[in-house]
Symmetry: C2
Subunit: 97 residues, 2 copies
């Protein structure tokens, strides 16, 4: 299994509506992209740390790349993430088992 982890810091100008759209739209992606095995995300609960986290699991590196480049995923990033992301930290690692 491959785990993809992303942490977002929002811009100071990001509105509550824009921030709320992120989990609302993420909820639709597993129905559109069958390569997603687990998809667990939420707003950071401790001020001073990152604002939002996504943890996504895939069966293989190829499935992760299919997800990464999927048009529905790219459209989500362009619409919901790019306008409010001040910083994005990413990594992928091999999940045991």
């Amino acid at each position: 299994m491959i785990r993809h982890v992303v942490m977002f810091t929002w811009t100071p100008e990001a509105t509550g509506e824009q921030k709320a759209a992120v989990p609302a739209e993420l909820a639709k992606l597993p129905g559109e992209i069958p390569q997603i095995r687990r998809y667990e995300y939420g707003p950071g609960i401790n001020p001073g740390n990152r604002d939002f986290v996504l943890v996504a699991d895939f069966d293989s590196p190829e499935d992760f790349l299919t997800y990464r480049d999927h048009p529905v995923h790219r459209a989500f990033i362009e619409k919901c993430i790019d306008p409010i992301a001040a910083d994005v930290a990413r990594a992928q690692y091999v999940l045991p088992g």
Copy 2:
């Protein structure tokens, strides 16, 4: 459930031995800190992204704090992380279910 996610970027000077000590020492922590429910970590596999990721799950915010401040955990950070960490990104979020 509370999920704690941490991503590390190592310094250019970090040695292979120092980097290998991180997962080797992390493997000991669940045996020492019973509040840890899940503990999944590994080196980042894509150059240009973060170098190491840890995803840790706890039953409650209190259990997370017990872990965070546990002497065994603090000793691990001081010995293995602080000497080689160029950047650390952290967040905690509520895990559904």
